[in-house]
């Protein structure tokens, strides 16, 4: 799902529909569109609408009350904190990993790429469990942490760690194919012309990867703020202290405060919509950059 791969010209459908051999009869076309859009509406559009309808069921005032409630505000703060730590760390990791993988030759490269993708194949519940096994009271470091009065699991550090785990691959997997496709010539030219390693990176590499990087950051941030399973295992669900927004939604929902649960959920749904808008914009910009001739 690399950013450039997806930035396809929109005129393609016209080309297909103009060719008598590759176009479908109108009846077939509209039946397929009809089935597709029904499926789309049932499984994607309706759930999204339901969030907002349920959120405003009891009116604006109830909505606002649910949003400015102290426990909600503290869950928003924790969610922002977790994302503010996890995203920059994964950006540094992503750039480092992509630089190593895309610009150098070494044995076991494919294996390293598989390892980077690993967190995507692990159930979020297991992502939480592993930190309980390492930092929990019965875990490897449990006794030592207890001695030094450091809490990781059922506290904020655990939540941040779980968030980092589930978002590790986002930036790296966006940058690796992009930097591989761009090759090494421009960087080599910069070095031959006497640029330092840092200048080469800042003036040559970074401008080339900026849209891909931004794309990775957007997706990474969305997942970091929305993660539920992994965070749920390590949180301990202490209201006002270790609840992120998705966990707060769950608590409100299980207490049958449906309107309040959907009000908080609607904030997360808004975040998702903003994410999709930004993502579409970046795809469009990256498409322009990919079509431009080599920049002077």
């Amino acid at each position: 799902m690399a950013v450039v791969a997806h930035a396809a010209p929109f005129a393609r459908a016209q080309r297909f529909e103009a060719s008598p051999a590759a176009s479908d009869p109108p009846l077939v076309k509209w039946v397929i569109i009809g089935i597709s859009l029904t499926f789309f509406a049932l499984f994607l559009l309706l759930p999204l609408l339901a969030v907002f309808v349920e959120a405003f069921k009891k009116g604006w005032e109830a909505y606002l009350r649910a949003v400015v409630e102290p426990d909600t505000l503290s869950s928003i703060r924790l969610t922002l904190l977790a994302a503010a730590v996890a995203v920059p760390l994964n950006v540094i990791f992503g750039i480092a990993a992509a630089w190593a993988v895309a610009k150098h030759d070494f044995r076991g490269k494919q294996f390293l790429i598989t390892l980077i993708d690993l967190p995507f194949s692990v159930s979020p519940v297991i992502a939480g469990l592993i930190y309980v096994l390492v930092f929990g009271a019965q875990g490897w470091l449990g006794p030592w942490l207890l001695e030094h009065d450091i809490k990781v699991v059922f506290a904020v550090p655990g939540i941040i760690l779980a968030t980092i785990f589930v978002t590790v691959p986002f930036v790296a997997r966006e940058l690796i194919p992009l930097m591989q496709a761009q090759g090494r010539d421009e960087e080599e030219a910069a070095l031959v012309l006497g640029a330092s390693g840092f200048r080469m990176f800042r003036d040559v590499t970074l401008p080339n990867i900026k849209w891909g990087l931004l794309y990775g950051v957007i997706l990474c941030n969305a997942r970091a703020m929305g993660e539920f399973g992994a965070v749920s295992v390590v949180s301990g669900h202490i209201r006002g202290q270790t609840n992120t927004m998705p966990l707060h939604v769950e608590i409100l929902y299980n207490e049958y405060q449906f309107a309040a649960a959907f009000a908080v959920a609607s904030l997360l749904a808004l975040l998702a919509l903003v994410t999709l808008v930004l993502k579409t914009f970046v795809e469009w910009r990256a498409g322009i950059q990919a079509q431009e001739p080599e920049a002077p």
Binding site: H6, A8, R12, A13, E17, P20, A21, A22, P25, I32, I35, S36, L37, F39, F43, L44, L46, P47, L48, A50, L89, A96, A97, T114, S121, S123, P124, V125, I126, L129, I130, L133, G136, Q138, W140, F165, V168, E188, V192, M200, L219, M225, G226, E227, F228, G229, V233, P246, V249, Y253, A261, F262, A265, A269, L271, A272, L273, L276, K279, T280
Partner: protein, 278 residues
Amino acid sequence: MSAVKVRRVLPGFGLSMGITISYLSLIVLIPLSAVFIKSASLGWSDFWQVATAPRVMASYRLSFGASLLAAAINVVFGLMLAWSLVRYNFPGRRIVDALVDLPFALPTAVAGIALTALYAPNGWLGSTLNELGIKVAFTPLGVLVALIFIGVPFIVRTVQPVLEDLDIEFEEASASLGASRLQTIRKVVLPALAPALITGFAMAFARAVGEYGSVIFIAGNIPMVSEITPLIIITKLEQYDYAGATAVAAVMLIVSFLLLLVINALQAWSARSNERVR
């Protein structure tokens, strides 16, 4: 002149590789190894007993069965959706195209309560389905609905680029040789899409097996009936049965690793046959 220099090496390999390996080890590899080390401490017979207990077996059947079915349903409808987005012009196409990624962007817990609100017996869709005698929420069918939701983009986004790159000349050649449109689709288009479809299927399946947030609200979580495997792990953890939770987690992890290998092989195959088509 000294000996021939094979290639100029860009700087920063040591530093970037060092960061990559240490970060991966600390965040991913060492903590993950805890699952296997902890389950090894159980001993084989205890491990087997926990991992194959009737309630756990029922959860495997549900998790793997519903995930397979959801991925298969997504192959059919995801292909149609991708086809519509690439081949046809219709009003609102760009919005539909952007919203296909909603399951990636929407937090799973939000998707979970939204689907429950829709399919609960008094919900928008649930009330109508209830009159027809179909119960979705709080049954295995609810699990299926949630897994379909999270799987949609995997199929659409793997098929879409291949469909976009598929040369129009192949279809025109097939038609000029006298093939009907249906024959062209079956013998020319679908074989070219097969690798992408299978890859998307495997990715959707792998994601669905581990899915938690969007499922637990709509599933009802009745033991032996609608309890997914990730929930078994959570339940055991809440009872402080760390060894038991870890044993089930180890089974899931092994399945995930195998799936990851399969997906990697599929993607390589998909990329190769894609180049052939072009």
